[in-house]
């Protein structure tokens, strides 16, 4: 193996470095981008093709208990996408919830090198980490669920922000998590009794705290701990017609931060932007949401785009999945996690014939088109909830081509246009916007630019994707088919300085790392020796405190981001 790689004639867009499309060379050595290549480096001629930092998915469900249960309960889904062992590639199966290697290979061939698992229940963190090691071609991060955490809710009730922060710090370090995830805060605890919360001021049974209080406290705790990412929030009332009000109220909870840091990341906002009162009169409220977003630089969202076809929905939002089940009456799995959170899984089919689905489809696109700043609206499908991530290229094409949207308009329920503003939007995103929405924006929002993610400046991690697209002689608004094909399959995907995928095939065994965070707190805030915390742990969990933390052996290449908590 040569010491390095030199990529010549690359059409580089590197938003974080301010490069908006220049033909240049990129030198790689020892897994990092360097100024100059070593003599004898392997030379890759990009031939003017689009070259971007490795793709980053800031919200995807690919590993862990509920994802695996999605696979477990869906042999019919596994019938699609089966490949046999080929070279270094393991067998893969599945379409909407592929096997770990399936996810990894498909992400790799799309140029993705970093993926954040959207929801990890702390108690079952070990499982997520085990699957991370079986998703070998992406660096992984895990959002850790705190939405129904009893200790946190008690701290919120006592209005003790510092204690909440200390609990978060202890938990993230124990389970090797990356950031705070709140999924329907309070609602998952209410679901322990088969209930839900109906708005952000609706108190949680017994704990008598409101979602708004949980969100605000956790935002403060997050900033006290100086975690790289902000609070990552799945709002209350997902998928309920009229829920845009909840979303707007929630956005108002985000305090402004210093600089251009966000204090709140709202995920899959498409599912939270519905007007109307029932499924019959559901309408798009993307304009209201975008207006609020455009006035709040402290908020970042991702789209949560849905795409037509079959998929599997899975979320920690247990009550929502049950409501969905009652609608579809197909199959339903639920998994409550003691003292922490819940989850639910059901398969769905988004149909072009369904007005509701068409409205949902339009809303996601509208959010991306109406958000003035691409750094504030990232591309996602909340894989696999809106659609499997393999649909990203199609979404990119839709965003870049008005013509493609018009063509799609012919295919969908004709009433859609009365409920959505999509077809009035002329905006077509450019290559730069896409680069922001698929990697640079993610890296910035997740706060991992410092460890060399999402950009190509010297010192950065050598995660590079070269797509068979030549922006100089391609008009994406016309040649959207080519855009789609190009983003589906890189010429080269380079991960930490190694070519991992070439022309759609993975060519090496992977060796990913897992990125986690640890906030140093003063000893009096160490929950591991807090009598009240440990007493409750001993009495109410079913595992021993000593058997709870994820051992280092589960992170063979762990990367820890340490912060100093302001406690």
């Amino acid at each position: 193996m040569t010491q390095g790689i030199l990529i010549k004639n690359a059409y580089v867009i590197d938003p974080l470095s301010g490069i908006r499309g220049e033909i240049m060379d990129i030198a790689i050595r020892d897994g990092r981008i360097v100024e100059d290549a070593l003599p004898g480096s392997e030379v890759i001629d990009a031939g003017g093709c689009l070259t971007l930092p490795g793709g980053i998915d800031s919200h995807s469900h690919v590993c862990g208990t509920k994802v695996n249960f999605g696979r477990y309960m869906s042999p019919e889904d596994m019938r699609a996408g089966r490949t046999s062992r080929k070279g270094v590639m393991h067998v893969t199966s599945g379409y909407s919830v592929p096997t770990t290697f399936g996810n990894s290979y498909r992400y790799s061939t799309m140029g993705y090198t970093t993926v954040l698992e959207g929801a990890m229940a702390p108690l079952e963190a070990r499982h997520t980490h085990e699957e991370f090691t079986a998703t070998p071609h992406q660096d992984m991060l895990a959002n850790t669920l705190f939405d129904g955490n009893w200790s946190v809710m008690e701290a919120v009730r006592e209005k003790d922000v510092k204690r909440a922060a200390a609990i978060v710090a202890w938990t993230l370090a124990a389970v090797k998590g990356f950031a705070i995830k709140l999924t329907n805060p309070g609602g998952t605890e209410a679901w322990g009794w088969g209930k839900d919360v109906s708005h952000i001021h609706d108190p949680v049974p017994y704990f008598e705290v409101t979602p708004a209080e949980i969100i605000s406290t956790m935002i403060q705790a997050n900033e006290i701990l100086r975690l790289p990412h902000s609070v990552h929030l799945h709002c209350n009332n997902l998928g309920v017609p009229g829920n845009f009000r909840t979303t707007l109220e929630t956005m108002d909870l985000a305090p402004p931060a210093g600089g251009d840091r966000q204090t709140l990341y709202l995920t899959h906002v498409q599912f939270h932007s519905y007007g109307g009162t029932t499924w019959r009169d559901i309408s798009s409220k993307s304009e209201e949401i975008a207006r609020s977003l455009n006035s709040k630089p402290q908020v970042v969202i991702d789209m949560g785009q849905i795409m037509f076809g079959r998929t599997t929905t899975m979320t920690a939002d247990g009550p929502m999945e049950f409501k969905l089940y009652m609608l579809h009456h197909n199959k339903w799995s639920n998994h409550d996690v003691e003292l922490e959170t819940g989850s639910g899984i059901i398969p769905v089919y988004y149909s072009r014939k369904s007005l509701v689905n068409c409205v949902m489809w339009a809303i996601g696109l509208e959010l991306a088109l109406l958000a003035k700043n691409p750094w504030q609206c990232l591309l996602s499908t909340d894989n696999p909830n809106g659609a499997p991530f393999v649909k990203y290229p199609e979404i990119i094409a839709l965003l870049m081509s008005r013509r493609m949207r018009e063509n799609e308009r012919e295919e969908i329920d004709p009433r859609t246009e009365h409920y959505v503003p999509l077809f009035a939007l002329d905006r077509e995103l450019d290559w730069y916007d896409i680069a922001v929405m698929t990697r640079a924006g993610q890296a910035k929002a997740m706060g991992i630019t410092r460890i060399g993610k999402g950009h190509l400046s010297p010192g950065a991690q050598a995660d590079v994707a070269i797509y068979p697209l030549k922006p100089d002689n391609l008009d994406p608004s016309v040649d959207y088919q080519q855009v789609m094909a190009g983003f589906s399959r890189t010429l080269y995907t380079i991960k930490r300085g190694r070519v991992v995928a070439r022309d759609g095939d993975v060519v090496v065994e992977g060796a990913n790392s897992t990125i986690w965070t640890r906030s140093r707190v003063p000893p009096e805030y160490d929950m591991g020796s807090d009598p009240e915390f440990t007493r409750k742990f001993d009495q109410y969990y079913t595992v021993r405190l000593r058997n709870y933390p994820v051992q280092d052996v589960y992170l063979p290449r762990g990367v820890c981001i340490e912060t100093e908590a302001a406690l």
């Binding site: 249960f69 477990y72 067998v91 639920n334 003292l339 109410y540 595992v543 058997n547």
Partner: protein, 428 residues
């Protein structure tokens, strides 16, 4: 030396609060564990070294030779079966699946003879479940259906359900109602508030009747359904409906009786129906301590929880066709590797006979019924005693077992890793 918080590698309860005293490589005492746990820690019938059968007799062999011969047997076979896996840890199971991929083998775990039907039912209708702590802290109604936890999971009731106090259940056995459904009185039915005695094979109809009552179609329920009176059915439905949080646990009495997966499906649909009124969950009582781990590993690598056939390169799954018992009954297999389980004791006679007629290799610490069917046996360390690794509790909570001391035995990963590299070498 006293070692605290030891994880028990016996049943699916995976109790992790044992205190084990050891001296050198000997276990002196086990605290907090049940009889089965203590037996596992203190019992000692370990095979000292690999053995192979020549003619009618056993001869001692080396690890090198045994491993090489195992690889050869597997490489020669046209329909090899890799069976077992529930008594070992996740890392070894992972190797097993990768090996099956390369060999074009069928890989199957012990679900095939226990909760395979439950998995099939879950694949039809899903699984509203929860972790055991959720039951401990909230449940006021507990149903054991076709399960006898006292025998098979002795501490289930005292650690997770009936007797343990939880956050919202301060005085457990006074506040929780226990319903036991079975075809006969059992130890567990002794402590039930309501014992429902069903005629053998009648579970499906009883579940159907309960669903009807919960749905408000109770008028159609006849005076007795499979031996259960209409009055009792209504009483049971009323207890369930008035629960704040109910939990159903089902065992082999439901999975392995007439109707099989359809019984479980019906029970799951009853749970779903009850969720329209209150909160209910349902969970299988998994037997082997890490059988759920093998389901998880198989699933994340192949997409299917058990009975995965790689003979065509891709993963194919079809219980009834690719499950071990069916393969052996049809005499399809021409070689078998048994890891950490005892099919000789659990499989029907015809299957065991076929195992004896083909080259069967067993990787297991102990001499057991399968030893008598095997051509080679390779002893390994016992996970949870002299080896460590990940295991999944019956509710999906992963726990790392502890290694109490070192013996000279290699663990499953060491042995399988060497077989795997030989296979990899041969397959290029």
């Amino acid at each position: 030396m006293r070692i605290e918080d030891v994880v028990c590698p016996f049943c699916g309860c995976l109790c992790d609060d044992l205190v084990v005293s050891v001296e050198g490589t000997k276990v002196l005492s086990v605290e907090n564990g049940c009889t089965l746990a203590t037996e596992k820690f203190t019992g000692d019938h370990r095979l000292a070294h690999p053995i192979r059968r020549t003619g009618g007799a056993w001869e001692k062999t080396t690890y090198d030779d045994a491993i090489r011969e195992t690889a050869e047997i597997l490489l020669d076979a046209e329909r090899p079966l890799l069976y077992g896996w529930s008594g070992t840890f996740v890392e070894a199971q992972t190797l097993g699946v990768h090996m099956a991929e390369l060999l074009g083998a069928v890989i199957d775990n012990t679900s095939t003879v226990c909760h395979g039907p439950s998995i099939m039912a879950i694949q039809e209708v899903g699984h509203p479940g929860c972790t055991l702590g959720q039951v401990k802290n909230r449940a006021d109604v507990i149903v054991y259906w076709g399960a006898n936890p006292i025998e098979a999971h002795p501490r289930h009731m005292s650690r997770y359900t009936t007797f343990t106090d939880g956050f919202f259940v301060k005085s457990a056995f006074r506040e929780r109602k226990v319903i036991v459904v079975d075809i006969r009185e059992t130890d567990s039915s002794e402590i039930a508030d309501e014992f429902v005695k069903v005629t053998p094979g009648g579970d499906y109809a009883v579940l159907t009747a309960l669903r009807m009552i919960v749905r408000g179609k109770g008028d159609l329920v006849p005076a007795t359904v499979s031996g259960v009176t209409r009055e009792q059915l209504f009483r049971v439905a009323e207890i369930c409906l008035s629960a704040r949080f109910g939990a159903i646990f089902f065992g082999l009495g439901l999975t392995m009786s007439r109707g099989k997966s359809k019984n479980i499906r019906n029970a799951i649909e009853l749970t779903e129906e009850l969720n329209r009124h209150t909160k209910f969950t349902i969970s299988p009582m998994r037997g082997h301590w890490n059988v759920y781990g093998s389901n998880e590993v198989f699933t994340w690598i192949t997409g299917y929880p058990y009975a995965v056939d790689f003979s065509r390169g891709i993963a194919f799954y079809n219980p009834g066709e690719t499950t071990s018992v069916d393969l052996l009954r049809r005499k399809e297999c021409d070689a078998c590797l048994v890891v950490a389980s005892d099919p000789g004791a659990h499989f029907p006679r015809a299957c065991a006979e076929h195992l004896a007629s083909i080259p069967t290799v067993q990787i297991d610490p102990h001499v057991n019924a399968t030893t008598h069917l095997s051509r080679i046996q390779i002893p390994v360390a016992v996970t949870g005693i002299d080896a460590e690794g990940t295991a999944y509790r019956m509710d999906g909570v992963p726990i790392r077992t502890r290694k109490l001391f070192s013996t000279g035995y290699p663990d499953d990963v060491a042995v399988l890793g060497r077989v795997y590299s030989l296979v990899k070498e041969a397959k290029g």
